[in-house]
């Protein structure tokens, strides 16, 4: 089968070549650009940035700029953790609820999944209005008396350390300023992101639960386990591989989050919801600081790679040995 082999490789060559150029060489190009002083509007001559190599000066600038360090790194960390925790908690709860022989299961499932069909730009447009302090959720809650409860809670002395912590993390969405208050704006973005992605987490967990052999449940029942124990002791531990997948996928999304934030808050107020992706966009396409932007890109890539490469590796490995 010498002939077919040659043909096979010939037919796969375009994809390999395109990947080599558009992924690997482009990443190398970005890294090279991050080492140059290409921070001006002058167009490039030739293929590589024809600017002096300045070593890691752009990285030094980056980490000496408060907007990036600590601000953007802090926002990314808070967003990533809260978004993953919220999405996993809601997704797992919904999956378990839907696993209880529910009437209308398909309908519920589709409602929870619907946001997945939308663009983050659409989601951002809608939620920006819901979290607009003048026309949005405040107007809905006021007649219900919830605003008064909210003010009472915020003023309640013993809870002050909690509010201080949430204020510090910028996720205190009880603050009526919502997207205009730096203490709550990040929380508003987390809610919108969770609305969009938690249905996906539900679908993953539901597929995982349905993949557990019925004999396992039966065996636990025979042993006298309650329905709750069946979940905590038998089913949820079985979901661990799904959980790992979910965390990696959500982590990958949050480390590069751009469109949702860009549409909802543009990184504001101030830099309260600024992320590396937004800083990169502004640096490159508005300020023409291409070297600096390339440095941000490389930092983002390295952080994502730390999350994703071990995962990709383990997935390919586990596939190799069934």
């Amino acid at each position: 089968m010498r002939g077919p082999r040659r043909l096979t490789i010939l037919l796969l060559a375009p994809a390999a070549l395109v990947s080599l150029v558009f992924v690997y060489l482009f990443i190398a190009w970005t890294f090279y650009a991050s080492l140059t002083s290409w921070n001006s509007i002058r167009p490039l001559n030739g293929i590589l940035p024809d600017f002096p190599v300045v070593g890691f000066a752009n990285y030094q600038t980056l980490f000496a700029t408060a907007r990036f360090w600590p601000n953007d790194v802090f926002n990314t960390a808070v967003f990533t953790v809260t978004f993953i925790v919220a999405s996993v908690a809601i997704g797992l709860l919904l999956a378990i609820l839907l696993d209880q022989r529910i009437h209308g299961e398909v309908l519920f499932r589709n409602i929870f999944l619907l946001p997945m069909a939308l663009s983050f730009v659409v989601t951002g447009t809608i939620w920006a209005w819901i979290f607009n302090p003048n026309t949005g959720i405040n107007q809905l809650l006021d007649p219900l008396g919830i605003n008064a409860i909210r003010e009472g809670l915020l003023a309640f002395g013993p809870l002050k350390p909690l509010w201080d912590l949430l204020d510090f993390l910028r996720i205190d969405i009880l603050r009526p300023g919502l997207t205009t208050d730096s203490r709550s704006a990040l929380g508003a973005v987390v809610v919108a992101a969770t609305w969009q992605m938690s249905g996906f987490v539900m679908a993953m967990f539901l597929a995982g639960l349905r993949g557990v052999p019925e004999e396992l449940r039966e065996a636990a029942r025979v042993d006298g386990a309650s329905e709750r124990q069946i979940y905590t002791a038998v089913l949820i531990p079985q979901l661990r591989p799904v959980l790992v997948s979910v965390i990696v996928i959500l982590g990958y999304i949050s480390l590069k989050i751009f469109d949702l934030v860009f549409v909802m808050t543009r990184g504001g107020p101030g830099t309260a919801t600024d992320f590396p992706s937004i800083y990169l966009f502004v640096s490159a396409f508005q300020s023409q600081l291409w070297g600096l932007a390339a440095a941000i890109a490389i930092v983002m890539l390295v952080v994502s790679a730390v999350v994703v490469i071990p995962y990709m590796w383990s997935q390919l490995r586990s596939e190799a040995q069934p």
Partner: protein, 300 residues
């Protein structure tokens, strides 16, 4: 890898019936929680639909939660083609997105199908390595390739054009389309290809005669996945175009928010119009949509 078939979520109907009296209250709580979450998921849908039918006067006098007084399409019209010339509108963006998305979906799906077929049915030494090499592109933040991509497209005079955007979506779609098709073809017996080969079909003949006719469900899954991701994409759209005449609809919607800052009815109408194609795909082909979602997570 359980492959593309993993997306079929079986219902729990076959499961044994619950017992015990205390369970009745549990059922009430379960349904109450489900309805509560339904409200959370549908409230934004209500807002976007209701507000898109409001008139300018209502926008100024009502909050976004009040239902509209009647069905008024003027906001839809303004979102598509605003009365003020030069103030944007998403009509052109809608057209651009169609022109960009359709060829990108078709080409990246067919390409992925060929890759997946070759990687599973004509295995050679290093096939898994090549797959990993291709797959890596799926896991990078696109910011890491954005700046050279801009330069590259400028050199080819493709920057700020729809073919340039389509090319970008094709190239960065290869990993996911290859992945899904590779999973899909793993479930098809290799003997079929071997039998065709004995009949002298060859690599291409076996693909056309044996594999392609079996690939329809795979193409639906991949096609919907690619359609949804490309239609909804924003980062490439906003960085690889600078002329409103070639911007995709997501960028146009974002610009609409800038030019109609106070008019939430127009923005909501724009959001609906932008979302309609992918929502329709989800409503009518939701099963395949979910399969794509699960396949995108490698293991499914």
């Amino acid at each position: 890898m359980s492959g593309a078939a993993a997306g079929t979520v079986p219902t729990a109907a076959s499961r044994g019936r619950g017992r015990r009296r205390g369970l009745r209250w549990t059922r009430v709580v379960i349904y109450a929680l489900l309805f509560l979450f339904t409200v959370f998921y549908l409230l934004p849908v209500y807002v976007v639909v209701a507000d898109s039918f409001k008139t300018l006067r209502e926008v100024n006098t009502t909050s976004i939660w009040q239902p509209p007084a009647g069905i008024d399409f003027s906001a839809w019209q303004s979102a598509l083609t605003p009365p003020l010339i030069g103030s944007g509108g998403i009509g052109k963006g809608l057209l651009n997105s169609v022109v960009m998305t359709v060829p990108a979906v078709v080409i990246s799906s067919v390409w992925g199908s060929i890759n997946g077929y070759l990687l599973t049915k004509w295995r050679f030494r290093g096939a898994d390595l090549l797959f990993a090499f291709l797959l890596f592109g799926m896991f990078i933040p696109y910011q890491a390739i954005l700046i050279p991509l801009v330069q590259f497209l400028q050199k080819l005079n493709l920057y700020g054009t729809l073919p340039g955007l389509a090319l970008t979506h094709i190239v960065y779609g290869i990993p996911i389309t290859t992945l899904i098709f590779r999973n899909y073809y793993s479930a098809i017996p290799t003997e079929l290809v071997e039998a065709a080969n004995v009949d002298g079909a060859g690599v291409i003949g076996a693909y056309v005669r044996v594999i392609l006719p079996l690939s329809i469900p795979g193409f639906v899954v991949v096609g919907i996945w690619q359609f949804t991701s490309i239609w909804n994409e924003f980062l490439f759209g906003v960085t690889l175009t600078n002329d409103p005449n070639v911007q995709p609809v997501t960028v146009a919607l974002q610009n609409l928010a800038g030019s109609f800052a106070a008019l939430y009815n127009v923005q909501m109408a724009g959001a609906i119009i932008t979302a309609i194609p992918t929502v329709l795909a989800f409503v009518f082909l939701g099963r395949y949509f979910i399969r794509g979602l699960l396949a995108g997570s490698l293991k499914g």
